[in-house]
Amino acid sequence: MPVPAKLRVATTSLAGCFGCHMSILDIDERLLALLELIEFDRSPLTDIKHCGPCDIGIIEGGVCNAENVHVLREFRANCKTLIAIGACAINGGLPAQRNHLSVSTILNEVYQTQHGLVGGFIPNDPELPLLLDKVHPIHEVVKIDYFIPGCPPSADAIWKVLTDLLAGKTPELGHGLISYD
């Protein structure tokens, strides 16, 4: 009997803290079992620069700058199923707490009037991506298929969603697995 083809999975973090990726690692020993069923495309796991055709894309973090937009679009274009993981991807999370302030106010505060700062000015090198005026949840920028809430979601919640998807089921989280904090 032929070995079923592995599902191809890509992951990335936009404006996030990487806590969701850490929570993926928190599946601990199950990681080794998972690697039997899936293979990673673009991800911190691999050296693939651009996302190729994938079955599943997992995105952590909200959209806070131009670069995030490009990466998010690349994932949407290549992933059959796109999953938003964690508070930042789902509602902007903590970074979105800047949304009631103007970008200029924040940049001034941090680079010009900040405590202990000497001769400040605002970084303007073309190598740096520009900030959007607001941090947006990713579903406000592209279509998202599934959401795994939590800050971060527990490893068990992530495991449940991944195994449901691997089994061809619609992911469902019950009490104890669904969480916003």
């Binding site: 690692l25 991800s43 911190p44 405590h115 740096l128």
Partner: protein, 495 residues
């Protein structure tokens, strides 16, 4: 001592090579290199390209929210931020001396985090470079490759990290972004069941940590020429040390040494950090550049983290780690060892210290006490400094009479190392890229140097294996001449 390659004279005449993205966490970083037609390097920069502005939007929030809020800066070492903020805010509630239970629960949490973070960094992220070689087969150079070639090493790495995360879960309430440390103490201690659960594996963790030190030591000895010279540059160092001069990762006073190892300052209290450090902005990075005021921005930058801590303290209070520290000091000789790759060795020594400390704390019944918080005279300003896995972390807050944050200043570990990491990549560029045809393998050398620091920007990218890498070579007019990308199979594609 700062390097000449920061800014080229005539950038418009040079080719640009970008390593992008190297990573994110504390933001997304990339390296850009400018070189001439002879592949002579003229400029190398490590840019930190993400910006969040926590310092601003945290203003106007109630202070008790801060320890839970700011840890969202980093999902790899949230405990560091959780505790640094709590320590700063202890001053606001007038908690001069925490209860023994609170102090030990926080220390237990912190060492759990040291263990998991150091294990993650070495086993999941760096071991592929060190065990397979910097320019070995790309497809093999990740945790999957390690699991295949060295299954026991991979298994132990995963279980060491798991144990650290479990220590955090029991002390903080959650593995990532817990809530138990509050201004003035903690909101929970350990139950007997929780204690016993952790206790049963504690000795094995010490043993495995000890083996890990041996493994790195052998790698260093086996290739000492490379390990001692790769990206090496001399620098000032800084870290906390306990009053008795011993290594203290949770609390203490600031001590700094110059490149030769002479103490420049010592016993500086946390709230006096501003007398030592100022920050500079450069237009090409969202990350600031801190330096020692007395020496100025050119000479005053410094290095933090395990390599600094192990050489900065007088001794380590746990016996097995102390033996290893002595061997390291003996190896490095009279002056300091400045080699970035020596970070790995010292990091494993710290992991061993963390494992010993956890075991010892688990035998201390105070961690099951019920006296959790203290309050005293209300304060309005607080500074909390802690040694995070990747270096000194400073949180500084002012709180108004209505209990809202009115000022916040954060200097995270990676920021302290900003200039140092730039120096390292410039040195590697000179040592390995200068005058050569640029290949994927050569560019990986730059990442290896960055990774050695375990910057928070590498916490992220690093998270398992190597970061994606792109090289684009542009001519003076900015036209793309050739394109080279590291694909999943590791083959170099030229198009």
């Amino acid at each position: 001592m700062s390097n000449s390659l920061e800014t080229a004279q005539h950038p418009e005449t040079l080719r640009r090579i970008a390593i992008d993205p190297i990573s994110r966490v504390e933001g997304h970083g990339k390296v850009t290199i400018l070189l001439d037609e002879n592949n002579h390097i003229h400029q190398v920069r490590l840019h930190i390209a993400e910006f969040r502005g926590f310092e601003k939007f945290i203003q106007g929030r109630p202070y008790w929210e801060v320890p839970v809020m700011v840890q969202r800066l980093c999902g790899i070492c949230p405990v560091s931020h959780h505790l640094a903020a709590s320590k700063a805010l202890d001053a606001i509630v007038g908690a001069k001396q925490l209860t023994p239970t609170a102090d030990k629960i926080r220390r237990l949490m912190h060492h759990g985090q040291m263990l998991q973070s150091h294990a993650l960094h070495f086993f999941h992220l760096c071991s592929p470079d060190l065990l397979f070689g910097f320019d070995s087969e790309v497809s093999q150079r990740n945790i999957v490759g390690i699991a295949a070639k060295y299954p026991e090493t991979a298994r132990r790495g995963i279980l060491l990290r798991k144990y650290g995360q479990e220590v955090i879960r029991h002390t903080a309430g959650k593995r990532i972004h817990g809530t138990s440390s509050v201004p003035g103490g903690v909101n929970k201690s350990l139950s007997l069941a929780e204690r016993d659960e952790l206790l049963k594996d504690s000795e094995e963790m010490v043993a495995w940590s000890r083996d890990a030190v041996q493994l790195v030591k052998e790698l260093h000895f086996k290739n000492s020429e490379l390990y001692n010279s790769f990206g090496a540059f001399s620098a000032n160092i800084m870290s906390l040390t306990a009053a008795d001069g011993s290594m203290d990762l949770y609390d203490g006073q600031l001590r700094g040494r110059d490149a030769a190892g002479h103490i420049m300052f010592d016993g500086v209290k946390d709230q006096d950090y501003t007398t030592l450090i100022a920050e500079q902005v450069k237009n090409w990075s969202y990350m600031k550049f801190p330096y020692l005021k007395t020496l100025g921005p050119e000479q005053g930058w410094y290095r933090v983290g395990p390599l600094s801590r192990v050489q900065n303290c007088d001794f380590i209070a746990t016996p097995l780690a102390e033996i290893e520290r002595r061997e390291f000091i003996a190896y490095s000789g009279k002056s300091l060892l400045h080699a970035p790759l020596a970070y790995h060795w010292t990091r494993m020594i710290e992991m061993l210290h963390a494992a010993e400390t956890i075991r010892d704390l688990l035998h201390d019944n105070d961690i099951m006490g019920s006296d959790l918080t203290v309050r005293g005279e209300r304060g309005f300003e607080g500074v909390g400094i802690i040694e995070a896995p990747r270096g000194t972390l400073i949180h500084h807050y002012r709180v108004d009479e209505n209990d809202l944050i009115s000022m916040c200043n954060l200097i995270v570990s990676t920021t302290h190392n900003n200039q140092a990491m730039n120096e390292a990549v410039r040195r590697v560029a000179q040592q390995y890229l200068h005058g050569h045809e640029i290949t994927e393998g050569l560019l990986n050398h730059i990442e290896v140097a960055i990774r050695a620091f375990d910057p928070c920007l590498s916490c992220a990218t690093h998270a398992l294996g190597k970061m994606p890498l792109e090289v684009e070579v542009l001519d003076a007019s900015g036209e793309q001449m050739s394109y080279l990308a590291r694909a999943g199979d590791g083959a170099s594609i030229n198009c």
